[in-house]
């Protein structure tokens, strides 16, 4: 069973489809919740970019590491994070995956190798490089994957990471999600040249792929992850995609001038990775329309259950706010200076 010569088993293709739909429906729920004023903090949605997280994470196990971005729900779910735990976290509840201490920009689950979403643009690059060093020392074939955006590609730490990862042949995969925008600035206004080209002078192989084609992403990641696991060093993938929603939900309340052309957004909606993948699966006889409809049904139940779980979870106890700054509790009754 193949899709476009990818040699991907049907089950794996359907699983990737299911994960993409899960990410999309979870985030559509979050968009509604945000509009309804149910979310205490900002959310940055990944709608339209799901093929990147899913196509890459399909190659990873819980023992591999990922770092993510402020637009991190997709990476969390693609890497096997719990939808209910994520929903409760974004609702700011005690049963959230981070107990309500992190929120949307910090969903993390170390037991699944998810070092976490990150509120600092480019903040995950050094962390992933460090995890790759640990993986290399462990010598058991683990890899670290760093998802970052085109905006983060302009942070100097990317060059530092490319240099060290190339020098030390670290098992690191840098995945740039070029979604066309650096917050509210179109990439062309803030990013010179090609991001993939930035890797090549370091001797780091880099490819550009259609980030809205999950099979193309899967194929690029397949080669890069294998290379890393075999000890041949880092790679970079620049996945060309598009942020069909805003930088942050509710941005219309403070961004008064349009910063992009609505026709451009519409054109990219026409390249939406999910219906595109669905059409391909049906056209190639790998899935029936009924099977894909069944995926929608199962995902809808997961989303509904996540919402029910989040709504039913209590708010964190205010007294816990200072609870776990340190793993090794300082001596004495006062946890740290000035604590009362």
């Amino acid at each position: 069973m193949v899709a476009g010569g990818s040699n991907l088993p049907r089950e794996e293709l359907l699983e990737m489809y299911r994960r993409m739909v899960l990410i999309r429906r979870m985030e559509e729920q979050l968009a509604r919740d945000c509009a309804a004023g149910k979310l205490p903090g900002p959310v940055h949605l990944y709608v339209g970019e799901e093929a990147v997280a899913v196509g890459v994470c399909q190659h990873l196990s819980d023992r591999d590491w990922i770092t993510s971005t402020h637009r991190g729900h997709g990476h969390f779910l693609a890497k096997g994070g719990d939808p209910a735990g994520m929903m409760a976290e974004i609702y700011g509840r005690a049963d959230g995956i981070c107990g309500g201490f992190g929120g949307s920009m910090h969903v993390a689950d170390f037991s699944k190798g998810i070092i976490g979403a990150n509120g600092i643009v480019g903040g995950g690059i050094a962390l992933a490089t460090g995890a790759a060093l640990a993986a290399q020392l462990d010598g058991d074939g683990r890899v670290a994957v760093c998802f970052f955006g085109d905006g983060a590609a302009n942070q100097g730490v990317l060059m530092e990471a490319l240099n060290v990862a190339a020098l030390w042949k670290l098992p690191l995969l840098l995945v740039c999600e070029n979604n066309g925008f650096s917050e509210f600035s179109p990439s062309a206004t803030v990013t010179a040249g090609s991001i993939a080209q930035r890797a090549r002078p370091f001797g780091v192989p880099a490819v550009e792929v259609d980030g809205n084609d999950v099979v193309a992403v899967w194929q690029a990641a397949n080669a890069a992850v294998r290379r890393a696991r075999e000890g041949q060093g880092p790679s970079l993938i620049e996945a060309r995609t598009y942020r069909t929603r805003g930088h942050v939900e509710y941005e219309v309340t403070f961004i008064t001038e349009p910063y992009r052309d609505e026709a451009e957004v519409e054109a990219w909606r026409g390249r939406d990775p999910i219906p595109r993948f669905a059409r391909r699966l049906v056209a190639e006889g790998l899935a029936s329309a009924a099977e894909l409809e069944a995926v929608e049904g199962s995902v809808a139940r997961i989303v509904a259950e996540a919402v029910r779980f989040a709504e039913g979870s209590p708010e964190p106890a205010a007294a816990t706010a200072r609870g776990h700054m340190f793993a090794t509790a300082p001596r004495g009754s006062a946890p740290w200076p000035g604590s009362g």
Partner: protein, 327 residues
């Protein structure tokens, strides 16, 4: 017990801890060459897997420490000079100090960041900052400042064994200071101050490099029958406030000497805590001896003019003892 230099004591602590725990990795700029001597011989002993020279890229290495620790390693990350910590500050302030908290305590981050901190060596403004107040204010990192070779060894062992990010700040130019260092495996718990000299007339809190001028001032005043109690907090975060408060309750007077700029110095912080909690015990206003709010200059005569020395400490003590409530 043998007489050793502070930097040797640190070197011993690193060597013994790396022998003891094979999961410790150490990396940083020129750790093989060892500019200060603290990492001398480690590369030869433990090899390039566990001891790595990095390029000059503090933004990366400070964050790599976080990633490697999150992935199960115990990390020693050498930042060289305190001022270079600023270059690596995103990963320190936004990642190392926050990742455990933001994730509801899902992980431990056993990282020891090493750096030389403070002035006194004509290294000029970009190599001479005392960085401990900045770090202490981050909240999620511990800050250790040894005042003697024995403390350097015992505190560095504690820092490495600690499961949180710890900054171990060695006072610039004090690596050559010699003192008795225990041969056995002594670990000094973080958050325990040391009373370096007992006295009944006044409490002198001295931080890091300021311990030496504080002890000298106390010696000089002893000739005049003035008994100064010198307290070295040894760690700024966590802070052993109980020992300081206990001393102030006995002496009724407090002078603090801190090689930090005056605004938001740790001396200011401790002064506020004492004022809040032991106001009733004070018989004179608290005095702080700090660095004026200026850069650390290059020329020795200029540098001496801004760094606290024995004379300023002595003058502050005498003024505090001479203070009388206005009639």
């Amino acid at each position: 017990m043998a007489r050793k230099r502070l930097i040797q004591a640190m070197n011993e602590a690193l060597l013994e801890e790396m022998e003891r725990d094979p999961r410790i990795v150490l990396f940083g700029e020129d750790v093989k060459a060892s500019l200060f001597g603290d990492t001398k011989g480690l590369w030869k002993r433990f090899g390039p897997d566990r001891v790595r020279d990095t390029p000059i890229c503090e933004a990366l290495i400070s964050g790599m420490a976080v990633g490697a620790a999150a992935a199960g390693r115990r990390v020693v990350c050498h930042m060289m000079f305190g001022n270079f910590i600023y270059t690596g500050m995103d990963a320190i302030a936004n990642q190392a100090a926050k990742l455990r908290y933001m994730t509801n305590g899902q992980i431990k981050l056993p990282i020891t960041y090493l750096a030389v901190s403070g002035g006194g060596r004509s290294a000029a403004a970009q190599h001479s900052d005392a960085v401990h107040p900045v770090l202490a204010n981050l909240g999620g990192v511990k800050v250790v400042m040894p005042g003697s070779p024995a403390d350097a060894k015992g505190l560095l062992k504690a820092a490495i064994r600690d499961d949180d990010p710890v900054f171990f700040l060695q006072a610039a130019g004090r690596g050559g200071e010699a003192g008795e260092v225990p041969d056995e495996d002594v670990v000094i718990p973080l958050g325990t101050a040391s009373v370096r000299r007992p006295g009944r007339d006044l409490t002198l809190v001295a931080i890091g490099a300021m311990v030496r001028p504080a002890l000298k001032a106390a010696d000089a005043l002893a000739g005049d029958g003035i008994e100064v109690e010198v307290v070295d907090p040894r760690t700024i975060v966590p802070l052993d406030l109980e020992t300081i408060l206990g001393s102030v309750r006995r002496t009724g007077r407090l002078v603090l000497v801190d090689e930090a700029r005056d605004t938001c110095s740790v001396a200011s912080h401790i002064a506020a805590l004492v004022a809040e909690r032991a106001f009733d015990a004070l018989v004179a206003p608290v005095r702080r001896v700090t660095v004026p709010d200026c850069c650390i200059p290059y020329a020795p005569v200029l540098e001496r003019a801004v760094l606290p020395g024995v004379e300023q400490v002595e003058a502050a003590i005498r003024a505090t003892l001479a203070w009388r409530r206005p009639a």
